[in-house]
C-alpha cells in the first residue's frame, strides 16, 4: 500500500530523512514514534506529498510519487490526513468543512454529500454540531470533525500527524476512540503519536525513528517489552517516567 525505498530528504543541509525503507500493507496500522526533530512528521507528510522527497522511490496506493507524471491531487484525494492543529476551516460550518472536497472534487451532489457527512458525524459522535463553527467546538471535537472531513473523501489510507498532541488530556480519549474504531474497520493507517497505549493496543507495528533514520521496526509487544536500540530504550524510559 505504501512503499519507501531508499528515500532521502534534506532541508537545506539538514538530512531529515536518511535512507528510509518501509512497507505498509493494506489494512495495517503502523505507529511512528521518536523524539521531536527525529523526522517522523516529515516522513508522514511525504506520503501525501505535503513534503516532496529528494531521492529514492515512494509508491503510495500504486502511484509512484517519484514519477513527475503522477497526479498529486488525485493521490491526495485517496489519502486522508489529520493534522496536529486540526486545521478546520474557520469560515465554514462543520457540515461544509466535511462536504467541500466531496462536492468540488468527487462532484458528489450536495444533498448526497450532506447525507454522507451526517453519517460520518454520527460515527464520530458529533451529529448535533452540524451547523456549529469550528471555534465553537472544543479541541477534541474539532479533531473528530477533522477526521470526519478526511474520511469524507473515502480514502484508502489515513495519515495522522500527532493527532492528540494539541489536546487537553481529558479530550485525548475521545479522539483515540474514533481512531481505534477506524483501525478496526480495516483502514490502512500510519500514525505519528506519543500515545503508547494506542500503539500497544491498536497498532500492528511500531516504527522508531531518530535523526532521520528508522532505528527499530517491530511488533508493539516486542518493542515495548524489549526495545533493541539504546536510543529507543532511552526514549521509552523518558516517555514512561518523564521526571527521571
Amino acid at each position: 500500500m505504501i512503499t519507501f525505498e531508499g528515500v532521502h530528504k534534506w532541508f537545506k543541509k539538514l538530512h531529515v530523512l536518511n535512507d528510509i525503507n518501509l512497507h505498509v500493507k493494506p489494512g495495517e496500522v503502523v505507529v511512528v514514534c521518536g523524539p521531536s526533530g527525529s523526522g517522523k512528521s516529515t516522513l508522514i507528510r511525504t506520503i501525501n506529498q505535503l513534503e516532496p522527497i529528494n531521492e529514492g522511490r515512494l509508491v503510495v496506493d500504486g502511484m509512484d510519487l517519484s514519477d513527475k507524471k503522477t497526479d498529486i491531487n488525485k493521490l491526495r484525494a485517496e489519502v486522508g490526513f489529520v493534522f496536529q492543529q486540526f486545521n478546520l476551516y474557520p469560515h465554514l460550518s462543520v457540515l461544509s468543512n466535511i462536504t467541500l472536497a466531496p462536492i468540488k472534487i468527487r462532484k458528489t451532489p450536495k444533498k448526497e454529500a450532506e447525507e454522507q457527512a451526517m453519517a460520518l458525524l454520527e460515527r464520530v459522535g458529533l451529529a448535533v454540531k452540524r451547523d456549529a463553527y469550528p471555534t465553537q467546538l472544543s479541541g477534541g471535537q474539532q479533531q473528530r470533525v477533522a477526521i470526519a472531513r478526511a474520511l469524507a473523501m473515502k480514502p484508502r489510507i489515513m495519515l495522522f500527524d500527532e493527532p492528540t498532541s494539541a489536546l487537553d488530556p481529558e479530550m485525548i480519549g475521545e479522539v483515540l476512540a474514533v481512531m481505534q474504531d477506524l483501525a478496526k474497520s480495516g483502514m490502512t493507517m500510519v500514525v505519528v503519536t506519543h500515545e503508547m497505549g494506542f500503539a500497544r493496543e491498536v497498532s500492528d507495528r511500531v516504527v522508531f525513528m531518530d535523526a532521520g533514520v528508522i532505528l527499530e521496526e517491530r511488533e508493539p509487544e516486542a518493542f515495548f517489552k524489549n526495545p533493541q536500540h539504546e536510543r529507543a530504550q532511552q526514549f521509552l524510559k523518558q516517555l514512561l517516567s518523564p521526571m527521571h
Binding site: L50, N73, K74, G80, Q85, N87, Y89, Q136, A146, M153
Partner: protein, 233 residues
C-alpha cells in the same frame, strides 16, 4: 461692521458645491468626488486582487515583473501618475479621453498597486495549515485559494480596504490639476468668481473632506473589531 467670517457664500453656492452644474451640465462638486473615489475603488479592488495574486505566484516569470510594476508605481507620486495618464492615454488610444476617465485610470493604477499589497499580506496572514488541509483533501491549489484562503483573507482585508478608500477620497482632489470639476476644483472656481471669501470656502471643503473621511475611518475601526475571528464567533 462686516463679520469676520461670512458663510453666506457657502449657502449661496451649496448646490454647485454638491453637484456642480448637474442636471444642466456634467456632474461635479462633492458628488463627482465621491463618484471618482467609488469607481476607482471598485476597479482597484479587482486590480489589486489580480496584482496581489500574481505577486505571490510561484512562477518567477510572473512574480518578478509584477513586483517591479507594483514597486515602480508605489515609488511615484500620484500627481505624476495622473499626468502620465493625461498625456499618455491619448497617445496610446489614439483619441482624447474625457478628463474624469483619465483621472479614474490614474487613481486605479496607483491604488491597485497599494491594494495588491493589502491582498498579499491578507493571503500570507492565513496560516499555512489551512492550505495544507485543503490540499490534503485533494483540492487543487487554485481551489484551496478560492474556497479556503481568499474568503478568510478578504475578511481580514476589509478594514485596510476601507482605509485605502479614505485615501482615495482625499486623492481625488488631485483631479483638480487636469480640470476635473470635483469638490476642490469647484471650490477654486467659486473662490475665483467671488474673490472675497477664500477662508470660508476652504474651511468648508476641509470640513466636508474631514467629515466623510472620519466617518469611514471610524467604520474601518469598527469593522476591525467586529471582524476579528475569535470574537465574532
Amino acid at each position: 461692521m462686516e463679520p469676520f467670517l461670512d458663510f453666506h457664500v457657502i449657502a449661496d453656492n451649496i448646490t454647485y458645491f454638491m453637484i456642480g452644474r448637474y442636471p444642466n451640465g456634467p456632474l461635479g462638486g462633492f458628488a463627482l468626488t465621491i463618484w471618482l473615489a467609488v469607481v476607482s475603488c471598485v476597479l482597484s479592488l479587482f486590480g489589486g486582487l489580480v496584482l496581489g495574486l500574481l505577486s505571490i505566484s510561484r512562477q518567477r516569470l510572473i512574480r518578478i515583473p509584477v513586483m517591479v510594476f507594483i514597486n515602480t508605481v508605489r515609488g511615484l507620486p500620484l500627481l505624476m501618475v495622473i499626468f502620465w495618464m493625461y498625456f499618455l492615454l491619448p497617445l496610446i488610444l489614439g483619441k482624447t479621453t474625457p478628463e474624469s476617465e483619465t483621472v479614474i485610470m490614474g487613481l486605479t493604477l496607483f491604488t491597485s498597486a497599494y491594494m495588491s499589497q493589502i491582498v498579499r499580506a491578507g493571503i500570507e496572514g492565513i496560516p499555512k495549515g489551512q492550505t495544507e488541509a485543503a490540499l490534503s483533501t485533494g483540492l487543487k491549489p487554485w481551489q484551496a485559494m478560492l474556497y479556503i484562503v481568499l474568503p478568510q483573507g478578504l475578511r481580514n482585508m476589509i478594514p485596510s480596504f476601507v482605509n485605502q478608500f479614505v485615501s482615495l477620497i482625499k486623492d481625488t482632489s488631485l483631479a483638480f490639476i487636469v480640470g476635473v470639476s470635483e469638490l476642490t476644483h469647484v471650490a477654486t472656481q467659486i473662490n475665483n468668481r467671488t474673490m472675497a471669501y477664500p477662508t470660508e470656502i476652504f474651511i468648508f471643503i476641509a470640513a466636508v473632506y474631514f467629515v466623510i473621511c472620519y466617518a469611514f475611518t471610524s467604520l474601518s475601526r469598527l469593522l476591525e473589531r467586529k471582524l476579528a475571528w475569535n470574537k465574532s464567533m
